[in-house]
C-alpha cells in the first residue's frame, strides 16, 4: 500500500472542492427516495414471504390434517401442533377399534365433519418464526402458506404466539 502523503496542488484541491459541490447539487434535483410510511406503502413483491397463515376451505373448515410435517421441518421450532379428533365421516363404516376412539365425544354437536383428522390446537410463535417458508413447501394439503403481513407488533411475548383463529385471520 502506498502510505506516502499525496502531494496536492492548489488546483487539484480546488477541483476536488468543485466535484463535491457538483455531486450535492445533482442530488438536490433528484427525486427523494423517502416513503411517507404510514401514508404511503411500498408495493410488496409477489414472492414476498412474511409470517405464515393457515388456509381454509371454501366452507370455512381448516385444510390442515395435523400431519406434523411442518412442525418437524420447522428449523426454529416455532410451530406447535396438538393432534385433535379424528373424524371418520358419516358414511364410513367404523372398525371395532375406531368405535372405541372416544376423541369425537369432546366435539360439539354440529361441527363440520369431513372425514379427516384435524389439529385441536395449532400454534406458531411469530417471535421464533424466521419466515423461511419451509412449512409452506412441505405441506401436502396447502394448508399453510406465507402471508404478506409484515407489520406485527406485540406488547408481551405471549401475544406473539398465534393460535388457529389468529392464523386464519392474518393476511
Amino acid at each position: 500500500m502506498n502510505t506516502e502523503k499525496q502531494e496536492n496542488s492548489i488546483i487539484e484541491i480546488s477541483k476536488n472542492f468543485l466535484v463535491g459541490l457538483k455531486t450535492t447539487i445533482k442530488t438536490f434535483f433528484r427525486k427523494p427516495v423517502t416513503f411517507q410510511y404510514p401514508k404511503e406503502r411500498l408495493t410488496i413483491a409477489e414472492r414476498f414471504r412474511a409470517f405464515p397463515h393457515l388456509n381454509v376451505n371454501g366452507d370455512g373448515s381448516l385444510r390442515c390434517v395435523a400431519c406434523f410435517l411442518c412442525q418437524t421441518v420447522c428449523p426454529s421450532e416455532a410451530i406447535k401442533i396438538k393432534s385433535g379428533y379424528v373424524d371418520y365421516g358419516f358414511e364410513h363404516e367404523l372398525t371395532e377399534r375406531q368405535k372405541h376412539n372416544r376423541s369425537l365425544d369432546k366435539l360439539k354437536a354440529g361441527t363440520f365433519n369431513d372425514g379427516r383428522r384435524h389439529p385441536s390446537s395449532f400454534e406458531i410463535d411469530l417471535l421464533r418464526c424466521i419466515c423461511c417458508g419451509y412449512c409452506e413447501e412441505i405441506c401436502p394439503e396447502e394448508a399453510i402458506s406465507m402471508g404478506s403481513d409484515y407489520e406485527v407488533a406485540f406488547y408481551t411475548r405471549d401475544e406473539g404466539i398465534y393460535g388457529i383463529e389468529k392464523l386464519i385471520k392474518s393476511r
Binding site: T23, T24, T27, F28, P32, T34, Q36
Partner: protein, 328 residues
C-alpha cells in the same frame, strides 16, 4: 421631525421582524435543503410540507424546562445567549436594503441609519459575537462547553483577520466606508467582478466566523456533544439558534451589499432585488454546509493563517498595483 421618528421606528420594526422571521424560517429551509441533498424529504408533518415546523419548534422550546447547571455562573450563563443575538440583529442597522423611496415629499432611505463608517461598524459588531460563545462556554461549568468555547474563540479570532483584509480591496475601489456609497458605486459593475478573490475569502472566512460546517469546531457533535451550547436548554438554546441564523442572514446581506451590487438591479423593485440576492447567498452557505465535512483543528488553523491571510494580503497588493496602473 415627527415624520422621521415614525419612519425610523417603522423601519426598525420591519427589519427586526423580518430578521427574526427569516431566522426562524431559515431553520426550515436548512432542513429542507439538507434533506433534498441527502435524497430525503425533510419535515413534512406540521402544515403543508412542514411549513409550520418553525412555529412548532418555537412553541416546544418555549415550554421546555430551563435547566441551569449546578456549578454554572448564573449571570454570565444567562447573559451569553443575549450577547450572541443582539450584535447579529444590530448589524443590519447599517445595511441599505432598498433604493430611497419618496413618502409625503420626503426622500426616505431604506436603511435604518447611514453611518459613514458603516463597514467598521459591521466588523466591530460581528466580532462581538465571539464573547457570547466564550462566555457561554465558560459559564456552563462543563468541559465540553469550555473546550467548544476555547476552540471557537481561537477560530473566530484567526478568521477575523482574513475577513477584514478581504474587504480592504472593496474599500480601496469604492473609496468610502459608508455602505450606501459602496452600493451606489456599484451601479455600473458589481464589485465581485473586480474582487473575485476577495469574495471567495469573505465567503470562507464568514462561514468560519458563523461557526458553520465545515468550520463548526466549536460545536463538533462527534467530539464535544454540542460544544459551547451543550448545557443550554429551552429559550436560551433557541437564542443561540436565532443568533446563528440571524448572523447568516446578516452575513449574506453584507456580501450582497459589498460584492453583488446591493439593492441594484433592473425591472424589479429594489427591495425585491435585495431579497433575491440575499436568498441566493444563503443558498450558497447551505450548499457549502451540506457538501463538505468538518475540518480537523490543525487544518482549520492552517487554512486560516497559511492560506487565507497571505491570499488576502496579496489581493490587497494586487488591487493597489492595478489601481495605480489605471490611475484611479
Amino acid at each position: 421631525m415627527m415624520f422621521w421618528l415614525i419612519a425610523d421606528i417603522i423601519k426598525i420594526l420591519i427589519v427586526f421582524a423580518g430578521l427574526l422571521g427569516a431566522a426562524a424560517y431559515l431553520t426550515l429551509l436548512e432542513r429542507k435543503i439538507a434533506a433534498r441533498i441527502q435524497n430525503r424529504m425533510g419535515p413534512m408533518e406540521a402544515g403543508f410540507h412542514g411549513l409550520l415546523q418553525p412555529i412548532a419548534d418555537g412553541i416546544k422550546l418555549f415550554f421546555k424546562e430551563d435547566i441551569i447547571p449546578a456549578g454554572a455562573n448564573k449571570f454570565l450563563f444567562l447573559l451569553a445567549p443575549i450577547i450572541v443575538v443582539i450584535p447579529a440583529l444590530t448589524t443590519f442597522a447599517v445595511i441599505p436594503f432598498g433604493a430611497p423611496v419618496k413618502i409625503m415629499g420626503h426622500t426616505v432611505p431604506l436603511q435604518i441609519t447611514d453611518v459613514n463608517i458603516g463597514i467598521l461598524f459591521i466588523l466591530a459588531l460581528t466580532s462581538l459575537g465571539v464573547y457570547g460563545v466564550v462566555l457561554g462556554g465558560w459559564a456552563s461549568n462543563s468541559k465540553y462547553s469550555l473546550l467548544g468555547g476555547i476552540r471557537t474563540a481561537a477560530q473566530m479570532i484567526s478568521y477575523e483577520v482574513a475577513l477584514v483584509l478581504s474587504i480592504v480591496g472593496i474599500i480601496m475601489i469604492a473609496g468610502d466606508l459608508s455602505l450606501a456609497k459602496i452600493v451606489s458605486e456599484q451601479s455600473h459593475m458589481w464589485f465581485i467582478v473586480y474582487q473575485p478573490v476577495g469574495f471567495i475569502i469573505y465567503l470562507i472566512a464568514s462561514t468560519a466566523e458563523m461557526n458553520r460546517v465545515p468550520f463548526d469546531l466549536g460545536e463538533a457533535e462527534g467530539e464535544l456533544v454540542a460544544g459551547f451550547h451543550t448545557e443550554y436548554s429551552s429559550m436560551e438554546f433557541a437564542f443561540y439558534f436565532i443568533g446563528e441564523y440571524a448572523q447568516m442572514v446578516v452575513n449574506s446581506a453584507i456580501i450582497v451589499t459589498l460584492f453583488l451590487g446591493g439593492w441594484q438591479g433592473p425591472f424589479l423593485p429594489s427591495v425585491l432585488w435585495f431579497l433575491i440576492k440575499v436568498f441566493f447567498v444563503i443558498l450558497i452557505y447551505l450548499w457549502l454546509r451540506w457538501t463538505y465535512p468538518r475540518l480537523r483543528y490543525d487544518e482549520l488553523m492552517d487554512l486560516g493563517w497559511k492560506f487565507l491571510l497571505p491570499l488576502a494580503l496579496a489581493n490587497i497588493i494586487v488591487t493597489g498595483f492595478i489601481m495605480i496602473l489605471l490611475n484611479r
